[in-house]
């Protein structure tokens, strides 16, 4: 077997089997499960146990009947018949409000006294009372059910929200922008999380091998190129595995739960297909390029560390870069037109964080998007090879100087090797 694949396989196997990987895959799932569980519990709670109580005080039988017969989100305290009793009950907080309603000459006069607990129900009460009044008036005018329905039929309004773009009117799909912004937000958080985790993993891999001198054995067995790219591929495969696991679980959950009411109502509000389309488009390119870029940098910085304990120190610059990118992205979310945002969206290390927001806000042309994609990928390739060049000499330096000192020494070894090779070939 090719040594590149031997290394890739070893890195992959070691990481997949580690407890860390299982924890890393499960923790977001557990989080989602807990949030979903809590949401479900509370929504059930709300539906089954309307614990707010009000009193209805009316001499009109029909009104009393409306409130006692129907299924409301609140309960009616049947024992309270007088306004004074109701006031008392409201004071000792055994009810959240009371309604007094009388009918006079076909007009319903009602008064609702309520506390905060009941505030979101008042419109329903008004609606029921209005309906009752409509029925009363209809009776007075000798109108049948159908006539009433005709009278209350709403006007059909066709809405068209437009944008003025390059001298013509284009239809604005409002939900699309929200979906795009949502997925841009999602991507920038996902990139951040994946960069943090996978940059840590690869930097640790490299520093560990260097610190334990395994690196010297490996580099006397296989070329630095094989080792560097083997490690990158192994780690990227671990990342793909994690994403695949989520995709499979997500798909499975969709199939299993798609008939449940709560999921149905959620699915009606969002367009799943357009979200997926959005995710599979430019966003995924930015995601992959972004993670790749930072993982390569992490391998480079990891190779600068002398011991395992120095890994965190060595990857600090990457974490800072990612954080800066992330916050510019958040800033771009609110002001995508800002010049500052525009400039940063073309700087490769920040593109994956910033560009998705600009795409979502439609402040960038297709050409601009492709330029930034080419720039990002080109930069990723460039730093791969620069990192590789340093990598070979980095791993032979065990001095305890700071990062800059190590880079300087690495540079001098590189130069010395290069010069020597040039001399030898002459």
């Amino acid at each position: 077997m090719n040594k590149y694949w031997v290394i890739t396989k070893e890195v992959y196997k070691k990481n997949i089997k580690s407890f860390g990987f299982i924890a890393m895959v499960l923790s977001p799932l557990v989080l989602v499960a807990v949030v979903a569980g809590i949401t479900y519990y509370f929504s059930q709670e709300e539906q089954t146990e309307p614990d707010t109580q009000i009193a209805v005080i009316s001499e009109n039988e029909t009104i009393n009947q409306i409130f006692s017969s129907q299924d409301w989100d609140f309960q009616i305290d049947d024992d309270i018949k007088e306004e004074s009793e109701a006031e008392e009950a409201l004071l000792d907080e055994s009810i959240s409000g009371y309604l007094t309603a009388e009918v006079e000459n076909g007009t319903v006069n009602a008064e609702l006294v309520y506390t905060d607990d009941f505030s979101d129900q008042s419109s329903i009460i008004q609606e029921s009372l209005s309906n009752f009044q409509t029925m009363l008036r209809a009776d007075e005018l000798n109108l049948g059910q159908e006539d009433v329905a005709k009278l209350s039929e709403p006007v059909t309004l066709v809405e068209q929200h437009v944008d003025i773009e390059e001298g013509s009117l284009t239809e604005e799909d409002f939900s699309d922008t929200i979906v795009q912004q949502g997925s841009a937000y999602f991507v920038s958080i996902a990139i951040m999380i994946f960069i943090m985790t996978y940059a840590g993993i690869i930097a640790e891999e490299v520093a560990n091998e260097k610190g334990t001198r395994i690196m010297e054995i490996i580099l006397s067995s296989a070329s630095a190129t094989n080792h560097f790219f083997g490690k990158l591929t192994g780690v990227m495969l671990v990342l793909l595995t994690q994403i695949t696991i989520y995709a499979v679980i997500g798909f499975g959950a969709y199939i299993y739960f798609k008939d449940a009411d709560i999921v149905q109502s959620a699915l009606n509000q969002i367009d799943l297909a357009s979200i997926l389309q959005e995710l599979l488009g430019f966003t995924i390119i930015f995601f992959i390029a972004g993670v790749l870029m930072y993982v390569v940098l992490a391998a480079f910085f990891g190779s600068l560390a002398t011991k395992m304990e120095d890994v965190n120190k060595a990857v600090t610059p990457i974490v800072f870069m990612a954080l800066i990118g992330f916050y510019i992205g958040i800033f771009a979310f609110t002001s995508p037109d800002n010049t500052f945002v525009e400039v940063f969206s073309y700087i490769p290390l920040f593109t994956p964080f910033v560009m998705p927001f600009r795409i979502a806000a439609e402040t960038v042309s297709t050409l601009g998007i492709w330029l930034s994609i080419i720039g990002t990928i080109g930069f990723a390739i460039l730093i791969s090879f620069v990192s590789l060049a340093f990598y070979r000499s980095n791993v032979l330096i065990y001095s305890d100087t700071n990062l800059l000192g190590t880079i300087k020494r690495s540079w001098s070894i590189m130069q010395s090797n290069r010069k020597a090779r040039k001399n030898n070939s002459q």
Partner: protein
Amino acid sequence: MLEVKNIKKTFGSLTAVDDLEFNIKPGEIMGLIGQNGAGKTTTFRIILNLLTPDNGHVLWNNKYLTTETFNKIGYLPEERGLYPKVTIENQLLYFAQLRGKKKSEIKPLIDHWLEKFDVKGKKTDKVKTLSKGNQQKVQLISTLIHQPELIILDEPFSGLDPVNAELLEDGIREAQANGASIIFSSHNMNNVEELCHSLIMLKDGRPVLNGTVKDIRQQFGRTKLFLESDLSHEDLKQFPGVKQVEKTSDNIDIVYLTDTEDGKLIFNEATKNGYIPTFSQQPPTLEEIFKRMAGENNE
């Protein structure tokens, strides 16, 4: 055969190795000695192609070292390193695969090697559960299991007890019998003297000793005389060429001479009444030579 031809390596103003030249034929063992920082590890890295020399070159069977040659090398770095969370078996398999071996070739050999080096632990144990000495033995196995033709051992004996050191010596001799060219560095001159055919001592990157162990010792002359006789220390000091006289705990006099020839007069005087139990004129031990060379300013 490994040929190191006149190599020189500098890092900025520091000369790490200079003017170094040697050959190791198949079945030969060479010792590389020198104080810390003398250039031993740099020499190994140059042989392994991890560093490129400014001058000179390294040839293996008349060719430059390439990725192909990597498969024939066994290298034990100075500081030992294994993956702590990987089992002994997988560790050995991984390193052997990196040396171009197939899993199926190495798997049947593992039990035999673990037994040979008396590793305490099962092959399914994780490396971190082993003691330091046993980890070191696992690493030695990984250096040797793929039957390398060029074996480079950086301080292989450090940290091993005498029993394990002997196991290692046996392992090295076995590889030698199989025709490997072996080079190792050591601070323990006994190991070097017992195992090596030839040796090189580096000082500040330059070879100060280079040759077979016997020749090197001889070139310093038989200047150390072990003597049991009627002659007192005062008598001995009167002889020409006597630098110093000491007494061992066994009541044997040690006389340090300037020249091999100086022994003859003492011999004649000591034996004028006939039998004496000890008269042994020896070249200095490697250790003494090492100390002398390390202390000397050879400019």
